[in-house]
Amino acid sequence: MNIVAIKDLLYRLADDDLILGHRQSEWTGIGPILEEDIAFSSMAQDEIGHAQAYYVILNELFGEGSPDALAFGRKAGDFRCCQLVEFPIGDYAFSLVRHALYDLAESIRLESLTKSSFRPLAELSKKLLREERYHHMHATIWIKQLGLSTQEANQRLQSAIDFAYPHALALFEPTAQDDTIVAEGLQASEGELESKWIEAVTQLLSESGLRLPAVVDKTVHYGGRHGKHTEHLDKLLAEMDEVFAIDETAVW
């Protein structure tokens, strides 16, 4: 069992979920309709819960910091999330598209992780996959509904896709550990997951009157998996870590 490779994978999984979860929680109270306010708030709770479960494995099995310290006590350069999740919520079209691209990817990734040779991760992903099903359905229902509704809705979704899709390709940015991750049966290769994801995204968009933008170089937005982030992450962490920075032992 290669501990370096497992930790590398766990940090990517956890940090993606934590940062996206935090962004989704920013819709609480300001959703375009009440039902979507509730949906994004609920998905935020799920994603942050998933991040916590990964941090618990890092803490209990690999001696990393406590889940709170890992979530709130690290600098941007320590994070291994992709840049897609860092962007502010923007308009509802962007948040919906990001959620759809992200959760299609997460469903495919979790499916692969259920067969992981690292048993704690395989067991946990079976659990998370069940919850993820709700996110997947939520995303696809709304993309289809809005994509096939008015011209304005369709155009706003398409603009969001044109912006978000090249960033979403970086969900599959490999690291130096990927060969080991595949060789040890921890997870399928990023390339294999990416192919399945592109197929799923293409199908959803074609059923929704939308199209996949052409991407010349998929590596343009790489960097997140190596600690290179957008300016947005610094701002997000400053806000998210505010209470922890004042008092690490604060109890809610």
């Binding site: 949906a39 708030s41 609920s42 799920d46 659990k127 069940r130 709700y134 359905m137």
Partner: protein
């Protein structure tokens, strides 16, 4: 020495803090109870939803209740080895949920589908002529539906 049956009986007193009518036993989240040679007790608990904040309360309450029943050394381990599903809620638990005003989750096999999700029985009038308004609700485990028969909007313990 305490018996497993006594532990399970005591655990009936530990309720879901968000749905205070149903015990952790009826909810199906108790995976196993292990009584060590020295009399200490390990309760294996599996979360309903990974991000459910109630899990911390349940853990604390289990230790408190067992202490009240004379078990001085007990511990709760959170397990994921067999993921929780709403199919594990006991028949009695389903009745309690309905009486509480929450539509019990339909049983299903394999992967959750939209059809399963949309199939909720109104807890007020027991009609199945209902539609789903939101797969998400006020807590992680609830969805919101509306009954066409009695025109009541109701919550469902959503299938997972």
């Amino acid at each position: 020495m305490v018996t497993e049956a006594e532990i399970y009986a005591a655990l009936e007193e530990v309720k879901d803090p968000e749905i205070p009518v149903i015990s952790v036993v009826d909810l199906g989240v108790i995976r196993d109870v292990i009584i060590e040679a020295d009399g200490s007790v390990v309760v294996q608990l599996t979360p309903t939803f990974a991000g459910c904040p109630a899990i911390h309360h349940m853990k604390e309450n289990i230790v408190q209740v067992l202490t009240a029943h004379g078990v001085t050394h007990s511990r709760v381990d959170v397990m994921y080895n067999e993921p929780w599903s709403t199919n594990l809620i006991s028949p009695r638990g389903r009745v309690l949920l309905k009486d509480f005003g929450l539509s019990p989750p339909p049983a299903f096999d394999g992967m959750l589908t939209l059809e399963v999700l949309q199939n909720a029985m109104c807890p007020k009038c027991s009609s199945n002529n209902t539609f789903m308004m939101n797969a998400f609700g006020p807590t992680a485990c609830r969805a919101v539906h509306h009954c066409r028969n009695c025109r009541e909007t109701f919550e469902q313990f959503k299938p997972l």
